[in-house]
Amino acid sequence: MATLDAPLIVSSRREHADAHTLARYLATGGYDALRKALTMFPEQVAAEVDTASLLGRGGAGFPAGRKWSMLRKAPISYLVVNGDESEPATFKDHYLIECDPHQLVEGVVIAAYALQVTQVFIFVRGEFALGLERVQQAVNDAYEYGAIGREILGSAFSVDVVVHPGAGAYICGEETALIEALEGKRGFPRIKPPFFPAVNGLYGEPTVVNNVETMSNLPWIVLHGGAAFAALGAGRSTGTRLFALAGRVRNPGVYEVEMVKNTFRDLIFDPRLGGGTIDDRPVTAFIPGGVSAPWFGPELLDVPLGQDEVAEKGSMLGSGSIVVMDDTTCPVRAAWRITRFFARETCGQCTPCREGSGWLERVLFRIESGEGRDDDLDLLLDLSDNISPGLAWPPQQTTICVLGPSIPSSIHSAIDMFRDDFVAHVATRGCPHE
């Protein structure tokens, strides 16, 4: 059974159908945290976030406090919020953007105050038509309420927040590609170093880029203190986290649970959460953190939901999305579809990613459709090795961004865990699951 006694930090209003309105937000303590923050020095607010040791919720899991303090030396020009959620099977920012936009806006203004940034851009995925409307409405309401604009809530601090729409490109979730899109260009990730937009960000100026869920945690942290947040979870994984559960489960959905105190099994099987698999079929594999992550087999269901705990077993908690497969799932088909996604979304700048993704997709497709050749498994592994030498985890980098080296993860996992399935596809010239 899952341990569900931790407070809901980012999804406390999920039972309210009108949680996106200012009236509901104010009735549930909205903007109290911002008022409190404005009575503190900006460094004190940043120190609370540091104490909370809040790990970024976008996928890389870099500590938000450290991201901020790296910049403390030079004044920061822009805060950019990454709401371009596109990692397959990740839908937790979608929930926060559509259902609790004021919480996001309050978190964003708190962060702007802590960083003393006066210009914020909230980048919202273009396909979130309703989300764009809700966030813009929340910004409009916050202006009228006095929480954005000149001398907010009677303080000496002024800030402007602009809602910026994306236009459909997975790669724009990569922070330097997102900045390019915000500059009105093709979403090409920038060459590193510099590794952080803190050095060279929007218009070449120091910029902080933070994820939507990261920002949404800030009101609670300010109200209850960083120590109270850090008391939840364990080790480096503090607080709670939103997990997006999908695939062959009875109750797919977004669930907020305390980090580390719960396992994948708790999340998938607890009747208050995932409720088990459809028709109680056996779990054959699951993806622990977005399609860039290597898969886990059922023997790892008891791994705790923590960043280091998952990393120790050779994968990542990534974007917090978990996809459950059962014995009706064809692993070849699953790996092929994930690879086709990468082949479609590669930006095309780097050869290993641009060419490799397409080759891998075509080889996987011919295996799945009964045209596989005897040496195709070796070919897949060899191609993968060309994209990321050694097929290690975390993967070796050969490209400008991490998209390319993430492609082999699912293929390598599928071949490792389901080699017999691949062999059967080639031997019987077809998919045994059909």
Partner: protein, 206 residues
Amino acid sequence: MSHLRADLRQRAEEVLALYPRPRSAMLPLLHLVQEQDGYVSTEGIAEVAALTGTTPAEVRGTASFYDMFHLAPVGRYVVGVCTNIACLLAGGVEMLEHAGAATGCAVGATSDDRLFTLEETECLADCDRAPCVQVNHRYVRTTTPEAFTELVNDLRAGARGAEIPPHGTLARVRRVAPAPVEPERLASERAAANRAREQRSATESA
């Protein structure tokens, strides 16, 4: 003479005023062009180039990178069916086939009556209601073939227009807020805040 009609031109100018540099308004402006023309037209590209201080080639080159921008006319309703991993495990491929039959479109094509264009999409981040279907980027949540057929019949009959507006993701997004604070003023305020901070840390270390 503006290609954008008066109200959209007005919104375009409001959008431009939000950014420190005009080129940053590229994506929202292209959404506005699509709202009017249904796709990114050559005339629209010329206008966006003029507004953002770029060339038509730069505008087209940028627009072509993004999936949501159509460089050729599409149907009144763009139906997107996701077949990515979560939807794949929930019948997304079967839904796409059904959608093709129900709308009369091949994947990537537009129906003869120009009412529908069918797209196979990547993950639309609504995986707890899989398989996921969007029409003009509105979640319609038709997870069964029957529900999808009903939706198509409604759209053919001209119903659900309020729920699913035509193209233009920003059709109902309007900033109702004062113009941003003047950059010079923000710069001087920030300088004052930084001085105060330096003084504080000097006092602390003293």
